[in-house]
Symmetry: C2
Subunit: 257 residues, 2 copies
């Protein structure tokens, strides 16, 4: 018969050792507003305060997280009996993304919804995250399979909304907020990105994508406006070359307080 010894010996799975306190999704509905940048800077700021942090890149067909943290945009992942070992960034942030499983980061992943949903579930159950204070989940654009799977399958503490100044972006963010409400995911707040650009010569700031609608949008969605990020060429440069952890991100300090 099976003794208690045997049970203790049974091959454990990743989910037996994973202890994740808070799971926070970063959501917008609209592509290109800066969800990946905000997810990354949120993780970096939390890490700087001494928390144990991971990022789950749920954008299976357009992943950007590895490129933001790893100089070559990819590395070889290991696995052990428990499951897949995530990559670890320079400052110790755990990273998991489909791009870490591809031979080339620019190879296409041409999958329909069900496969996308299954991949995200495996990122949650089969990756050895270990003990984390925060897991940030970077969602792709749209309100389809990836977002549904994350909201229905992961124990989310809440979602951070990201918008940009264009009123078109705000219209799509409304859709994403409505989805979160329908799936009972609490909205933690709104961050507006690319609100203005400061001309290096004149020091003047220009609203290149038009005036901000962030206050209006935050009021309409009944969430706090947590911050506004300007367009900073230095940030594009660092995020394109795997060095986002070098960005001071002082705009994020109040957000993680």
């Amino acid at each position: 018969p099976k003794s208690t010894e045997d049970i203790a010996e049974r091959p454990q799975e990743a989910s037996d050792v994973n202890r994740i306190d808070h799971v926070v999704a970063v959501l917008s509905g609209k592509g290109g507003v800066g969800k990946s940048i905000v997810s990354s800077l949120l993780a970096v700021s939390l890490r700087r305060k001494g928390h144990r942090v991971g990022i789950l890149d749920a954008d299976i067909t357009g992943p950007s997280i590895p490129r933001m943290f790893l100089p070559k945009g990819t590395i070889q992942l290991d696995s052990d009996p428990l499951g897949i070992l995530p990559a670890t960034s320079r400052t110790g942030i755990k990273l998991m993304s489909i791009n870490l499983l591809l031979r080339n980061e620019s190879d296409a992943v041409i999958w329909r919804g069900p496969l996308i949903g299954r991949a995200i579930q495996q990122f949650w159950t089969d990756v050895v995250w270990g003990e984390l204070d925060y897991l940030v989940v970077d969602l792709p654009p749209g309100t389809s399979d990836a977002s549904l799977t994350v909201m229905q399958f992961l124990p989310l503490s809440g979602a951070l909304l990201v918008t940009a100044p264009q009123s078109l972006a705000g219209m799509v963010v409304h859709k994403a907020a409505q989805m979160a409400e329908m799936l009972q995911v609490p909205l933690l707040g709104l961050v507006e990105n690319m609100g203005y650009f400061v001309c290096p010569d004149t020091g003047k700031s220009y609203e290149v994508f038009g005036p901000s609608h962030a206050d209006e949008l935050a009021r309409a969605l009944r969430v706090p406006l947590l911050g506004r990020l300007p367009i900073r060429p230095e940030l594009t440069q660092l995020s394109d070359t795997g060095r986002i952890e070098d960005y001071p991100a002082e705009e994020f300090a109040p957000i993680v307080a």
Copy 2:
């Protein structure tokens, strides 16, 4: 028995009267680089040359086309025995989008892949497009259900790739180009958007999102670089208020030649 009279009387469907010469998809893989803007300006430029033009908005969960052409971002659609009648813009461009079927443009459409695929198929078969010289198909980000359905189901003449200066965008555009090749969709060329911003005070141009990689990318994908669009606040303003047909779009004249 059925006489030929009977057959002539049978209720026709939209596909019996639709005659579309060229179907062009606009693709990038990456969100927010300007696919909808490029789709719209392409349609506007083709219309100005006297062509009969339509736009099929295949971004079911993040549609932007109606907002670019219609002042309120939406309109009540009619239908007739043949099928759904598309909206018509001020200058006569036919438009079809999920947002035209919703009560409010900011309502969420929370659908998994199969429903998204079916909706796009219906936009092709059930909408009374009539006789068009060009149908522009605005694709959502990603390489999943919507793009697969468009590439497998619609008789595409080719696809226009849209990128932005960030090398991260270029990496994702590679994925989309690979998908088009695998599905035998000819790549017509590359357009780089948001390449630079001209400071109104100094007249100097700034590469806010970093230096352009468009030449390298076009060479790597073996496609012609058709044009580079700057960031123009006037364009954001017109596209946010349904007046994109007022934009001169002289950058597009060489593209449609």
